[in-house]
């Protein structure tokens, strides 16, 4: 089996938002909608305060609450682990958005443009997609790139043409994408050598994004 998943090395991320921009460019999301975000989180109390940059988005859960609640079957989980939305079926009820514990889903009812409604750029107008208005949208792990790449015999996570845009764009190699079920994939090998967690793991959604916070030597099995 294949399960496409992602590792995010929190030790590397510098919060530059290049991934956010690359995602917007690759997926033409409306203004204000960011499928890939980088949070700027502060932890601790003065004087021991830390700052963490945390990329978030759809976690492509193995047990996705959004898929369970969707009344239309617009949201589906593919055999390779990707959680997808069929925009032609979705009724925009928002049930998936309130079921997602990662705030990954967005519903907008009009297109917003970077410089305001009165001044849309030509490039924005060219990529307006009425089919994605008033329906749920979210990060797809750039499934079109993955599918097209696989058809050409490429390997997602290895060949840039078959890899999500955020992973390709990252300037610090924070992201590693690959097949979690393949023990020899770069992703699996990296995770074997690192200490990591997954967001809100206690909710039992089995998310597909792993956050690395330390090397293996410093961590324990209990931390994994």
């Amino acid at each position: 089996m294949t399960r496409w998943a992602m590792a995010v090395d929190l030790r590397r991320c510098i919060g530059c938002q290049t991934c956010t921009t690359a995602c917007r460019g690759a997926n033409a999301t409306p203004g204000g909608v960011q499928w890939r975000q980088v949070l700027d989180m502060e932890t601790g109390e003065f004087p021991d305060v830390r700052r963490a940059f945390v990329p978030v988005g759809c976690m492509h859960c193995a047990d996705p609450p959004c898929e369970h609640v969707c009344p239309t079957t617009a949201t589906k989980k593919r055999a390779d682990g990707l959680v997808t939305i069929d925009y032609d079926i979705c009724i925009g009820c928002g049930y998936c958005a309130v079921a997602c514990p990662y705030q990954a889903r967005h519903i907008v009812h009009r297109n917003a443009f970077a410089f305001g409604d009165q001044r849309p750029m030509e490039s924005e107008l060219a990529r307006v997609d009425p089919g994605r208005i008033s329906v749920a949208t979210k990060c797809s792990f750039c499934k079109d790139r993955i599918d097209a790449g696989l058809q050409q015999g490429l390997t997602p996570g290895v060949d840039p043409e078959a890899t999500p845009a955020c992973v390709n764009a990252c300037i610090t190699q924070t992201y590693v994408f690959g097949d979690r079920d393949d023990p020899n994939s770069k992703l699996s090998r990296l995770l074997d050598d690192a200490t990591h967690f997954r967001m809100h793991e206690d909710l039992g959604t089995d998310p597909g994004i792993y956050y690395i916070w330390d090397g293996k030597a410093a961590g324990t099995e209990a931390d994994k």
């Binding site: 700027d40 925009g92 958005a97 705030q103 330390d214």
Partner: protein
Amino acid sequence: MSTPLENTSGRTAPWHQSNWDLRAAGNFVFGGAGTGLIVFAAIGHAFGAAYVWTVLTGLALVGAGLLCVWAEIGRPLRAVNVYRHAKTSWMTREAMVAPFLFASGLGAAWTGSEVLVWVAAALALVYLTCQAQMIKAARGIPAWRSPRIVPLVMLTGLCEGASLAILVAALSSDHAYLKWLDGFLLALVLARGFAWYVYRSGLQHEGAPTKALAALSRIELAFAMLGNWGPLVLLFIALASSSVNVIFWLGAISAFATLWSGWLFKVVLITRAAYNQGFALPRTAVRGTGSGGPAARPGWH
């Protein structure tokens, strides 16, 4: 449709969901009250009361709730797609029960069939269950996903139904079984008050966004005190009395307070206490040498 696009990017602490607003709350408000009323139309019939207008009023309320949902969805012309996922979606199940509920309810009103009115009552109970489970299945909202929300929402719907049945009986001069209805409402109000405290203490114990807990705390006086324990005392007095006037007036006041407080609770639950999960870090990363930083879960109790 949802509220206008709100820029939520970069937030880490839970913020209020913006996808379900008053229109979604309307489905739970009217659907709960309508189904509760249909259940009590059947119960009232067992005590010899007429049920036609009660059932029709209940169906009208359920219909109003469904209209609210229809007005909420982004693509109303595709609404029929809601029937595609009965396997796991409580929204689909609610939608599937609705036509049978209307058919049996209208059939009961049209033919006077006693069997059909009980079928309608059973379907109303199923519909109410779907609504309660629908809220629980929204796992992104800590105040909704608690399993304790199911009995609370169902008891609230039944309280509203009993309250409306009392008001209908009072208005229609059908006072013969008013005392029975007062008794039912007393038992339900007692159970609802208990469910409310179990639900809230569960949220406190398991943890929830601070603002969600604060939103629920703010209705303690209106919902629990004035809308629940107050009517409980009045109903107790009414039942202990042999005066028809006392039974009538205290029953009607209690019914009004219980109905109003139930609606208030559901509106607050959907539009004020629905803070999402937010983001959390069980550890912060090791940067260079040293150890990782502490955990972070902003905005949580």
